[in-house]
C-alpha cells in the first residue's frame, strides 16, 4: 500500500467500559474487566461482560432487530460521538457513498439459543415463520442493523472468519476505498456472549479457570469477552485533520493446517505479518509495538511467538489485552485497534494484564505493565479458527 487509509472516528465498548476515556483510564491502570461467572456445574471461568446492555432500547422501527449483539452495536455507535462523525461524512458525500462492514463470529445467535430453551420450542420443535432470524441470528444481522441506524445506502457486508473477523473487515474496508467502491466505510467488530462459545471453548478445554495470563509460563486458556467497536475509514480528502490513526497495511493468510490448532511453526501467522509489513512499506526496525493476538492458550501463544521470532521482531515491545477485556472473538481486531488508538494518542504503551512474567521459553519483548511511551507504528495480530490470519500495520496520524 503506497499510502495509508485514514481512520477518523473510533470507538469501543468492552468489559473495560464505554468509550475512549474509560479505556484510557483502565489501560493506564492495568485494570481488568473480567469477572468470575462460574458454569452451572460450578466449574469456574471468567467472563468479560459489558454492563448496561439490558437497558439499551432499539429505535422502534428496528424493533425486530432486538438482541444482545445489536444492543451492543447500538451502544458503541452512540459512544464517543461516532454516529455524529458518520453523519458529518454522509452529509458531505451522500449515503450511497458510505459503505459498512461488520466483523462478527456469532452475531445474534444467543437469541435463537434462548428460543430453543423455551416451552414453546420443547412442544413444537420448530421456530415460527415470524421468528426474527434474519434480524438477530443471521451473520449479516448486525451489519444490516448498523447500516439502518446510520442511514447508510452504500455497499454492506458481514465478514465472519472467527477471531480474525473484524481485522479482516478493516482490511476489506481499505480494499473498498482503494477500489473506489465508496468514499468512506464504517467498519465494526461486534461479538456478544452466547452459550455456544462459552460451552464450545469449554469443550475444547481452552477456557482459563482463573486469570488469563498471555505469554506467561502459567498461561492456561482464554476468558471470553464481548465487545462492540467501530472505526470510520475514509479517503484522504474526507479525513482532513480529523484522522487519529492510519491503516497503513494489511496482510491476510490461511494456515491450511488444522481447524482449531495453529500451525506449530506459526507459518500462516508469519506470512500475514510479513505481508502487512510489506503492504505498509515498513521494515522490522520501524515497528514500535506489537498488539499480540496473545490469547493465553499454550499453543496459540507459542505459535505466535515463533512467527514473531522468524520475522525478527523479538526486540519490539509487545503486549496482549486479552487479560484486560477477554478474548472478544470476532471483535478482537477492533478491540486491538481501539486500544492501540488510545495508547498512541494518550502517549503510553499498554501492559499485558494478568501476566506476571514472560514464559522463559518464549522470546517476545513482553510489556507487563503500562508505561509512558510515544508509539508511532504498530503491528496488530489476529488469528482465528479455520486457520484464518490477519495482521494490520497501524500508524499514528501525523
Amino acid at each position: 500500500m503506497s499510502r495509508g487509509i485514514p481512520i477518523s472516528g473510533l470507538t469501543l465498548v468492552s468489559a473495560l467500559g464505554r468509550g475512549w476515556a474509560a479505556h484510557a483510564r483502565a489501560l493506564r491502570a492495568d485494570a481488568s474487566g473480567l469477572t468470575p461467572e462460574p458454569f452451572a456445574d460450578g466449574v469456574p471461568t471468567l467472563v468479560g461482560r459489558v454492563a448496561g446492555l439490558d437497558a439499551v432500547t432499539l429505535p422502534r422501527s428496528l424493533a425486530r432487530y432486538d438482541c444482545r449483539n445489536n444492543r451492543l452495536a447500538l451502544l458503541a455507535l452512540e459512544s464517543d460521538g461516532f454516529a455524529e462523525a458518520v453523519a458529518r461524512v454522509v452529509r458531505r458525500v451522500g449515503p450511497e457513498a458510505v459503505g459498512l462492514i461488520v466483523g462478527t463470529s456469532t452475531s445474534g445467535i444467543a437469541a435463537t439459543e434462548a428460543a430453543y430453551r423455551t416451552q414453546a420450542f420443547a412442544r413444537t420443535h420448530t421456530l415460527p415463520a415470524d421468528y426474527p432470524y434474519r434480524e438477530t441470528h443471521n451473520v449479516f444481522a448486525t451489519a444490516d442493523f448498523a447500516r439502518q441506524v446510520l442511514g447508510l445506502q452504500g455497499p454492506a457486508v458481514a465478514v465472519s472468519t472467527a477471531c480474525s473477523s473484524s481485522a479482516k473487515a478493516l482490511a476489506a474496508g481499505a480494499r473498498w476505498l482503494r477500489a473506489g467502491v465508496c468514499r468512506a466505510v464504517v467498519v465494526g467488530g461486534v461479538d456478544s456472549l452466547c452459550a455456544t462459545t462459552l460451552y464450545g471453548f469449554r469443550a475444547l478445554d481452552l477456557l482459563a479457570r482463573g486469570p488469563v495470563r498471555p505469554f506467561s509460563a502459567e498461561r492456561c486458556g482464554i476468558a471470553i469477552g464481548e465487545a462492540g467497536g467501530f472505526a470510520l475509514l475514509t479517503t484522504a480528502d474526507l479525513a482532513a485533520g480529523e484522522a487519529c490513526l492510519t491503516l497503513a497495511g494489511a496482510g491476510e493468510s490461511a494456515d491450511g493446517y488444522h481447524m482449531t490448532a495453529p500451525h506449530p511453526e506459526g507459518l500462516g501467522a508469519y506470512e500475514a505479518m510479513a505481508a502487512a509489513l510489506a503492504a505498509a512499506g515498513r521494515g522490522q526496525d520501524e515497528i514500535d509495538y506489537i498488539a499480540l493476538h496473545g490469547t493465553g492458550t499454550v499453543y496459540n501463544d507459542a505459535a505466535e511467538d515463533r512467527a514473531i521470532a522468524r520475522l525478527g521482531l523479538t526486540h519490539v515491545p509487545a503486549g496482549s489485552n486479552k487479560g484486560a477485556l477477554g478474548h472478544t472473538l470476532g471483535a478482537a481486531g477492533l478491540c486491538a485497534l481501539a486500544t492501540l488508538g488510545v495508547a498512541m494518542r494518550e502517549g503510553f504503551v499498554p501492559g499485558t494484564v494478568g501476566t506476571r512474567a514472560r514464559d522463559p521459553a518464549l522470546s517476545v519483548n513482553l510489556v507487563l505493565t503500562a508505561r509512558p511511551a510515544r508509539l508511532r507504528v504498530a503491528l496488530l495480530n489476529t488469528f482465528g479458527f479455520g486457520g484464518s490470519n490477519c495482521s494490520l500495520v497501524v500508524e499514528r496520524a501525523s
Binding site: Y133, A158, M259, F385
Partner: protein
C-alpha cells in the same frame, strides 16, 4: 475494474457440474430436480469424516472450477459467501445447549464458525492463500462477486464460492431455503484463451428491474440465495453480451456487464 471467468463449478438441482450446467442452461428445456451428492478430494479420512455437508458443497464446486481452469490453489485467494452458513450445526449445538447440563461436541463447535468451510478448503488444497467468508443475507452472491472482483484487481485472480443448503426442520419456516445450491467462479485478470466471458460491474439504480429466469427456473433462482447466480450462469451458457441486474443490499442493484468475444 473487470475480470474474466476462467473456471466454473456448479452443484444444484439438475445441475451436476459446470459443463453440464452450461449445456443445460444453454437450452430452453427445464432442469431435472435431483441433486448429485457432493464429492470432496484432498481431505484425510479424519477430516473428511468431520467435514459437514455445507462444506462438501462448497469444496465440490471450488474443486470443479480449479479443474476446469487447470489451475491449483497455491496462491489463489478465495471468497466464501453464504447467506446462512451451517444451520444444521447450529441446530445440533442449540439442542445440546438446551439440555441440562448443557454440553457441546468440540467438533460441532469448531464446525459452527462461518469460515469452517474456508478452513476445510485450506486443508484440502494445502494452501495458505488469503481467504474471506462473507454474508449479505439474500444478496450474498452479489456481495461475493463484488469482493472477488476487488481482490482480482490486486491479486490477478480470485475464486468465489457461494453456497447455501436447506436448514433443518426446526428452522425451515423461519429461514426458508428449499434446495441446496453452490456455485464457484474463478475470476482472473487475464484470459489467454481469448474465449472467456468478461465481467465488469457498477451499482444500479434502486428499484431497477432485477434480471429474472424464464419459466420454472425463476422458482429455483428464488429457492436459494446462491441460486441468484442463475441469470449469470445462463448468460455464460448462451455466450450472451448483456447487463445483469442483481439484487443488492438495501434495495440497491449490482449490475454485472457480461461480454463475450464474437466467434
Amino acid at each position: 475494474m473487470s475480470a474474466f471467468v476462467s473456471g466454473l463449478g456448479v452443484l444444484g438441482p439438475g445441475l451436476w457440474d459446470g459443463a453440464q450446467a452450461l449445456a443445460a442452461l444453454g437450452q430452453d428445456a427445464g432442469l431435472a430436480t435431483d441433486v448429485r451428492a457432493p464429492r470432496v478430494a484432498g481431505l484425510s479420512a479424519n477430516e473428511a469424516r468431520r467435514c459437514p455437508l455445507v462444506a462438501r458443497y462448497a469444496l465440490d464446486v471450488g474443486q470443479q472450477a480449479l479443474a476446469a481452469a487447470g489451475r491449483d490453489a497455491a496462491h489463489l485467494a478465495t471468497v466464501f459467501s453464504s447467506a446462512s452458513g451451517d444451520l444444521e450445526i447450529f441446530d445440533k449445538n442449540a439442542r445440546a445447549l438446551a439440555q441440562s447440563p448443557p454440553a457441546l461436541s468440540p467438533t460441532l463447535f469448531h464446525n459452527s464458525v462461518h469460515n469452517a468451510v474456508a478452513g476445510y478448503w485450506g486443508i484440502a488444497q494445502g494452501t495458505r492463500a488469503a481467504s474471506t467468508s462473507l454474508s449479505a443475507y439474500d444478496e450474498s452472491f452479489a456481495a461475493g462477486v463484488l469482493e472477488a472482483l476487488m481482490i482480482v484487481d490486486r491479486e490477478r485472480q480470485a475464486l468465489l464460492i457461494a453456497y447455501d443448503v436447506p436448514p433443518p426442520a426446526a428452522l425451515a419456516a423461519a429461514r426458508p431455503i428449499t434446495v441446496p445450491f453452490a456455485v464457484a467462479v474463478l475470476f482472473t485478470s487475464e484470459d489467454p484463451s481469448g474465449q472467456a466471458a468478461r465481467v465488469a460491474w457498477r451499482f444500479g439504480v434502486e428499484g431497477e428491474e432485477v434480471t429474472r429466469m424464464p419459466g420454472a427456473l425463476e422458482a429455483l433462482r428464488l429457492a436459494n440465495p446462491a441460486a441468484r447466480a442463475l441469470p449469470f450462469l445462463q448468460t455464460l451458457a448462451r455466450r450472451a453480451t448483456r447487463p445483469l441486474i442483481l439484487p443488492y443490499v438495501g434495495g440497491r442493484r449490482l449490475v454485472l456487464e457480461v461480454s463475450h468475444a464474437r466467434p
